[in-house]
């Protein structure tokens, strides 16, 4: 089709309506921001690139142009940043892209006979869309800005424990005694905790973001998550208060949004990252010097461990346990040590499946781990 610039923009605005409606319907402000950025990026490309370079747009070109817009959108999301769940954000983009194709090739030519001849211009409907869609986006973005969670900057050392029971963002500072989160839509950024039963305790909450947190001297778990959905990025858990401390424990959260632990360093604890009955993506973490296991995906969990470095774990590097279904790939497991107990299941096993667990493994690198990859008690490992 040979679009005019006006036609491109009007068609883009109209076909954004399904994504915009979904963004409002799911009550997630990131979704409204995302649609606003999609439209802004698209309109800018229309005006500066597409209109000048593409006099006729065959249908196949929608694929590379869509990929370009997705890449720009992702870059802007990271730069602002907008903390959107990646899978949901991709789904929203896919909806918008698919809507654009269906509108351009089916709905609009059907509803307006002269659509193609008019270069995508929509007449009065186009004018209406040109007003309505930006107004809706403005209302959405304005609403999101006006009702955004307050940001509290912590300075110096604060005596805790702090209980967070409303949506808010805590930035900076050091909290002695830990932080307890009991509300959804809470973000901790660049916060350090020292001590506490758990360094950070999240219960019954979703959309919790722990970004660049440091957890030191915790007494039970560094990060303790129950019945919640969290995103933990670039954290550090170290210097445990005793020999029984776990690093990050996400448990009993099946039915909550998928959690993610990414880019964290966990050192010197009993179990580095552990899940029970949860859906967690454990990616690109560095786990070292654990005294029981490096990473445990356990108890009917459906988890993925990918791109992690597990060093010098005692007994087991990565364990898929108890009816769990695990995808374990692209990890490096090095220097797993033989446990003195004499238990063969802890004889320096790099990757292990135990007790009716099913593990799909691939592209892992195992170094100096005498137990290699093993399965026990009716478990299966597929490569």
């Amino acid at each position: 089709m040979s679009y005019t610039l006006k036609g491109r923009i009007e068609s883009r605005l109209v076909s954004a309506l399904p994504a915009l409606i979904v963004a409002f319907a799911i009550h997630r402000w990131w979704a409204v921001y995302l649609v606003a950025i999609m439209l802004a990026v698209g309109a800018a490309l229309d005006a500066t690139v597409y209109d000048r370079l593409i006099s006729y747009q065959p249908a196949w070109l929608a694929v590379p142009l869509g990929a370009l817009e997705l890449a720009l959108l992702y870059g802007i999301m990271r730069a602002i940043p907008i903390h959107a769940p990646l899978d949901a954000a991709l789904a929203l983009f896919a909806l918008a892209w698919l809507s654009a194709q269906l509108f351009a090739h089916a709905a609009l030519p059907r509803l307006q006979l002269t659509y193609a001849e008019a270069g995508g211009e929509l007449g009065r409907s186009g004018v209406l869309a040109a007003v309505l869609v930006p107004v809706l986006v403005f209302i959405g973005v304005g609403g999101a800005y006006a009702t955004r969670a307050p940001t509290i900057h912590l300075h110096g050392v604060v005596r805790g424990p702090i209980v967070v029971d409303r949506a808010e963002t805590l930035v900076g500072g050091t909290v002695r005694g830990g932080i307890v989160i009991r509300s959804s839509h809470v973000t901790l950024r660049h916060v350090t905790t020292v001590g506490g039963v758990n360094g950070i305790d999240v219960e019954n909450a979703t959309h919790v973001m722990l970004d660049h947190v440091r957890v030191l001297r915790a007494e039970t778990d560094g990060i303790h998550v129950r019945n919640s959905g969290v995103m933990v990025e670039h954290c550090m858990v170290a210097d445990p208060a005793g020999p029984w401390v776990q690093g990050i424990d996400i448990s009993y959260s099946i039915g909550r949004p998928t959690s993610m632990v990414s880019g964290c360093t966990v050192a010197g604890v009993r179990e580095g990252i552990v899940t029970h009955s949860a859906e967690v993506n454990v990616m690109d973490n560095h786990v070292l010097d654990t005294t029981l296991r490096g990473i445990v995906l356990g108890e009917m969990s459906m988890d993925m461990a990918s791109g992690n470095d597990v060093e010098s774990a005692q007994g087991v590097g990565i364990l898929c346990l108890d009816h769990s279904m695990c995808q374990i790939d692209h990890n490096v497991v090095a220097g797993t040590k033989v446990d003195p107990s004499g238990d063969p299941a802890r004889a320096g096993v790099a990757i292990e499946a135990q007790y009716y667990a099913q593990a799909a493994v691939g592209h892992n690198t195992v170094i100096a781990s005498p137990g290699g990859t093993k399965q026990y008690s009716s478990s299966t490992i597929t490569r």
């Binding site: 040979s2 679009y3 065959p58 059907r110 006979l113």
Partner: protein, 375 residues
Amino acid sequence: MSRAGAAPSQTAERAAIVGSGLTALAAFATLRHGGLAHEEIVVFGTDADPTEQWSRQAAAIRQRQMRSESDGHLAPADFPGLALRAAWRRRSLRPLLETASRGYHPRVDDFLAHAAEVRARSGFDTSFRRRRIARIEAVDGGFVLDGDGPFAHVFLATGHPGRALPDELAGDPRVVHAYEPHDYASHVAIVGAGMAAAAEWQNALAAGSSVVSVRRREPVRQALNVPRPLFSRRGLAAYHRSPREQHAATLRRLSAPSFPPDERFDALIASAAAEGRFHVAAQLNGAEQVIAATGFRRGFRHDALLAGLVDRHELDVHDRWLVLAPDSTVPGLTDERRTLSVGGVAGQWAFPAADTIAGAKYAARRFLERVCRTR
């Protein structure tokens, strides 16, 4: 500009279509889609089957595939196109993938079958009257067609005004026009360089003939009759704004013979040339048979109905073209209460690819807008 004659008694029909070919069917289906009842439309023409003339010509040049693409059909809305219909019918994604990459060209059989569907679904036959209109008279609030009417809105779809034959070929017993049924002698000269000529080169070579392509200039290789932007406002806006002489120059340039790039076709011609069975020449030699793939006569003057209309109403013309408004209406005879629109090849001033299916629909859709505006 209009000269009000005596208005005969008012008819029930509000719109009349003059002509009964593909353009007329497209216009009729568009009006029906827009909500007009059969009784409000009358179609005057000589062929009850709107595809008859076109399919006869296509059969003469053994055309199997359309030059147009998925939206080259006669239904009012472009969606669903012929590719989607073919995909559905054949339970195959291939037509859709081909249309996404511009490689889909409907088969002539599919196009004709769909045209028959459009004809049946729109009720074309119930509005058809077998009659050749020889005179259009503008009257107050409409037009009288050979004494019938007045009709408030008239759409002229008179088609090509006869086949073109160069003077030097007239009366030569060896000559057959490409659009007449014919076979191929062992040595054939084919005059012309457009779609029909290209089809005839292939046909003659397939029949075992040796071919001399007689042409004055090399054909333009382009996918459609005109560059794609000229099918939409992107290219049309500048075209409509251009001064008359430039406008006419564009039409002259676009009337150069052309056919689509096709590697298989090129390989066939190259192979025949290597075997000495295909030559290009600037003029005729002593071939046994001369096929005139020279298309149609050009200009409204060759159409008695249009010529009479122009002369009687002193309509604006430029060179061989009837000057039309961008919406394909005749400015001097169109106002708030009546419309005279021109579809098909005579409408090129408004839409350079007027003699294509897209052109037929362009004029028809704007005609519908005017008819609806005065309902």
